[in-house]
């Protein structure tokens, strides 16, 4: 079912990792074989849901048993400035009778109930392992529902057992391409419209970017998907430029949008001060190449100069407090080197940084920044991480939620930097927030208290 699509995604020519592989390796695909009993991370369905759920005015309906939605709804930190329909959990909650009799009729009725109650512009239906295993034809049900109810009902065929979260994100992108993008011709197309792909508006990070774009007269048609409206996604093929911020997830979508509608794309990042400037410059250049007002380039340079100066000035006071502090950086999500460059600016040192998901180019940048290869770590088992922190080899761990308690139980300061984080770290403002957050954590008075042994343990 999903096989040909998955194979195609594995062979993505626009993927940097893929370009470095031999033909034979490329065919094997990029989903690392999972080791039973030693695996971590979400499934394909999880990835597809993360990618599409920030379409905030749509109903996101999960066709499966209770675990898939019941155990996960209202847990993702993607913000909306409008509808909050996307925050409700919708599921067919398949029971044993449904599994015996088939769940297609129940799904159809569920779609109808969702449309009648909530009148959404669209319904996304997510296939899961059990729905796929009992042979429910989600695509056919969606097609019938679309025809009879007059509301787009989009099948997302990414059941959990197909692969990793990252593959699911890409399958989510495929669903948009197959069923949504290009289905609406907007009447307000402008010469400076852009899309940002794989930006999920975690903690409202878009609000650290949108004001910059607005000052340049650039309109964000939509983030795919963050704080997104269905109608904007449907019309986003009219944008002049696509920026991809997390290449693993949606580069295929960007390439196909280029093939189909001639939209040039680039991979960039809004994490880090120089990265943000670079991204803005590239957007301006590509827009001008596609007919936007040439003064945009000079205006961008002016904005970049002003914002960089402001950001560095805001960070400078932290130098005295943070210089010499040692950081262990363990992340897959945020580009490691952009965090490194910001924290080096205030004099912090790196005792280690993970390069699990980094490309060769990322690794070269880390080399340039730190001047030493030994800080690069591929895998750091939790036991070893605990030892490093307990023995004081680092003053701070920056990582995702998964390793939070390794740091805290070792009584070591910890700053969260993955997608579940509670502060927005993007744009110029975001890097200042990050440095401030590091300072707040390191200077908290609890550390001295919790490390001190109980009085009766003094020998």
């Amino acid at each position: 079912m999903a096989r040909p699509k998955v194979q195609e995604l594995f062979e993505e020519p626009a993927c940097a990792t893929n370009r470095a592989k031999s033909d034979k390796d490329r065919k094997k695909g990029c989903g690392k074989a999972l080791t039973p009993g030693a695996a971590a991370g979400g499934c394909c369905f999880d990835g597809a849901k993360i990618t599409l759920q920030p379409i905030v005015d749509a109903v996101h309906l999960v066709h499966g048993p209770i675990a898939c939605e019941g155990n996960s709804w209202d847990s993702r930190n993607s913000w909306s400035t409008g509808s909050d329909l996307y925050r409700r959990g919708f599921t067919t909650d398949l029971s044993n009778l449904d599994i015996i009799n088939g769940g297609e009729k129940k799904l159809y009725k569920a779609i109808r109930a969702a449309i009648e109650t909530h009148k959404p512009p669209a319904v996304f239906v997510y296939q899961t392992c059990v729905g796929a295993l009992i042979g429910d034809d989600v695509a056919a049900v969606c097609k019938a529902a679309t025809e009879r109810m007059g509301v787009p009902v989009i099948p997302v065929e990414a059941p959990g057992f197909v692969g990793s979260k990252s593959l699911g994100a890409r399958l989510g992108g495929e669903a948009l391409l197959d069923h949504v993008i290009g289905t609406v011709e907007p009447d307000d197309v402008g010469p400076t419209d852009i899309n940002i792909l794989a930006e999920y508006n975690v903690n409202g990070e878009l609000d650290q970017i949108r004001p910059l774009l607005k000052r340049l007269g650039i309109r964000l048609r939509t983030a795919i998907t963050g704080d997104a409206r269905y109608a904007d996604i449907a019309a986003c093929h009219t944008a002049r430029v696509n920026m991809v911020v997390c290449s693993q997830a949606l580069v295929t979508l960007a390439r196909k949008m280029k093939d189909r509608w001639g939209i040039p794309y680039f991979e960039g990042s809004f994490y880090g001060i120089s990265d943000t400037s670079e991204a803005l410059r590239t957007i301006a250049r590509l827009l001008v190449e596609r007919g936007a007002e040439p003064t945009l380039i000079d205006r961008t340079e002016a904005l970049v100069a002003e914002e960089e100066a402001k950001a560095w000035a805001a960070i400078a006071p932290f130098k005295e407090r943070l210089a010499g502090k040692r950081v262990l950086l363990y992340t897959g999500g945020v580009k490691s080197w952009s965090v490194i460059s910001a924290l080096q600016e205030v004099g912090m040192e790196f005792v280690g940084t993970s390069v699990r998901k980094s490309t060769a180019e990322d690794k070269r940048k880390i080399m340039d920044l730190t001047g030493k290869g030994e800080v690069m770590i591929d895998q750091l088992p939790p036991r070893e991480m605990y030892r490093m922190l307990r023995e004081g080899e680092a003053d701070l761990l920056m990582s995702g939620g998964r390793t939070q308690f390794v740091a805290l139980k070792a009584r070591t300061p910890w700053v969260e930097i993955n997608q579940e984080r509670h502060h927005g770290y993007s744009g110029y403002e975001g890097m200042v927030t990050l440095v401030r957050q590091v300072d707040l954590t390191l200077s908290n008075p609890i550390w001295a208290q919790v490390r001190k042994p109980a009085p009766w343990e003094n020998s």
């Binding site: 096989r3 999972l34 080791t35 039973p36 009993g37 030693a38 695996a39 971590a40 991370g41 499934c43 394909c44 369905f45 999880d46 048993p65 209770i66 675990a67 939605e69 019941g70 155990n71 996960s72 709804w73 209202d74 847990s75 909050d84 925050r87 409700r88 959990g89 919708f90 599921t91 067919t92 909650d93 398949l94 029971s95 044993n96 449904d98 599994i99 129940k106 799904l107 569920a110 779609i111 109930a113 969702a114 109650t117 392992c129 059990v130 295993l133 009992i134 059941p159 959990g160 057992f161 197909v162 692969g163 990793s164 939790p382 605990y386 939620g401 308690f405 390794v406 139980k409 009584r411």
Partner: protein
């Protein structure tokens, strides 16, 4: 008397139900040196793991057999085998809880049979107790999964003593609706009578938020295998919650230890029953400090009843949670205006309300609207959206509570726990003077008559 009705709708909106495997995994968290293992795709584990981490704010050991498309078609025995071997090698657990999910149960795998073959051919698994539980997502909910896992643990581990007098021990079988704090308090109550409590599963040892001195990949603390084995050497088994009945029965069948199932241990009358029970088993009078605690609860009821009388409540949760909470509200003179649960439980027919619906938060919202609004909602954190919409205060209880600190330390059992719960609820009711229900002019309906439909007449 209440009618227990199943919501017949095809679409579950804002689910209340949680998956049974999640409940089973939580039970294994209460075993010392334990590692639960979901036999399913990696997403099943990831969702459950994230939810447990958010609630307990602790590292959670939970692994997956990482089923993929191929093993889903050909069978998952090899995945189970590989997972068990990997976990035994890396984490060296004393107990592995092997839990089937909807994916493998839909396939119809004979996991029990497979497990026998695997254990027979791997000597390296001899030191690990592998306990298998079938708790597919499509049947039952959190409490059912927990209950099934506890019964499986007792069947696998407990041993009878032959011919000699049992020790002054009491087995405690707490339901999943009790927190680590509750369990800790129950142990103190049992000890106060000079009896030794043996708890299965004992979350108060493992998920009570302690800071260990070394990194441990499994649970640290909880019921040891030796303790579970010794459960035959007890004078009495006390099970708390109807969903623990199957475990008490299984323990009785295996060891002959008599048992008593308490429907709840929150409220004056049920705690009195517990005191009489323990006093009889110990052959000792109720200790003075517990008599004083009883007196404090009586005083709390006297002080608190002003704020409960005539106020209306909406409660949603698993059957035993709903029963415990709703009965206390009734004890204090409050009215149960809306009640929703997750699975069919006949005993809920004795609740003092018109109907109990098996449904979701949308059903709770509908019932609240029918009642003309309520003064307080008691449910897990997923009720926050609906409470925000209606401006109704929410008292977070049950599982999961992901947006508050200290969920594991809430104590609501015993005289002291009931006293504190009355204070907490009373304070909210005092602060929120309350909505004006449509039927304010009608006299309050006595509890004994509510079940006959007089509430409807009053409007």
């Amino acid at each position: 008397m209440a009618r227990v009705v199943a919501s017949a709708k095809p679409l579950s909106t804002s689910p209340l139900k949680l998956s049974a495997p999640l409940g089973a995994a939580m039970a294994f968290m209460g075993m010392d040196g334990s590692m639960p293992l979901f036999h399913g795709s990696q997403g099943c584990t990831a969702f459950a793991l994230v939810m447990l981490v958010r609630h307990f704010r602790e590292a959670i050991p939970l692994q997956t057999t990482a089923m993929n498309e191929v093993s889903t078609i050909l069978g998952g025995m090899e995945n189970v085998e590989e997972a068990l071997l990997n976990i035994a090698k890396r984490a060296k657990p004393k107990v592995i809880g092997l839990i089937s999910t909807a994916l493998t149960a839909t396939r119809g795998e004979d996991v029990g049979g497979d497990l026998k073959l695997i254990l027979a051919r791997h000597k390296e698994l001899a030191d690990t107790k592998v306990v298998y539980v079938s708790a597919p997502d499509f049947e039952g909910s959190l409490e059912m999964g927990w209950g099934k896992a506890c019964a499986a643990l007792v069947k696998a581990l407990a041993e009878p003593i032959h011919g000699r007098e049992p020790s002054p021990k009491v087995n405690l079988l707490p339901g999943v609706h009790l927190t680590p704090g509750d369990i800790e308090h129950l142990k103190e109550l049992v000890e106060a009578f000079g009896l030794e409590p043996v708890v299965l599963p004992d979350l108060s040892g493992s998920l009570d938020g302690h800071v260990p001195d070394a990194y441990v990949p499994t649970t640290l603390g909880g019921t040891t295998v030796e303790q579970a084995r010794s459960m035959g050497d007890a004078r009495l088994t006390v099970a708390i919650g109807e969903h623990m009945r199957i475990t008490a029965e299984a323990l009785h069948a295996k060891t002959g230890v008599p048992y008593v199932v308490f429907d709840r241990l929150t409220g004056l009358e049920p705690v009195d029953r517990l005191m009489v029970c323990l006093s009889t088993v110990a052959g000792k009078p109720v200790p003075a400090k517990l008599k004083r605690a009883r007196s404090q609860l009586v005083d709390a009821m006297l002080d608190g009843h002003f704020f409960f009388g005539g106020r209306s409540f909406a409660v949603a949760g698993e059957p035993d949670f709903l029963w415990t909470t709703a009965k206390l509200i009734g004890d204090m003179g409050g009215q149960l205006a809306a009640a929703v649960t997750t699975t069919a439980a006949p005993f809920l027919a004795d609740l003092p309300c018109d109907r109990v619906e098996i449904g979701d938060f949308e059903d709770l919202e509908d019932q609240m609207l029918e009642a003309g609004g309520v003064d307080l909602v008691i449910a897990n954190a997923n009720a926050r959206q609906l409470c925000q919409r209606h401006g109704t205060p929410l008292f977070r209880a049950g599982f999961p509570i992901f947006d508050r600190l200290g969920a594991a330390h809430q104590v609501t059992v015993g005289y002291r726990g009931t006293r504190d719960l009355i204070f907490q609820l009373g304070n909210i009711l005092m602060e929120h003077a309350g909505h004006e229900p449509a039927m304010t002019l009608a006299p309050p309906v006595p509890l004994s008559e509510q079940s006959h439909g007089t509430a409807a007449q009053a409007g």
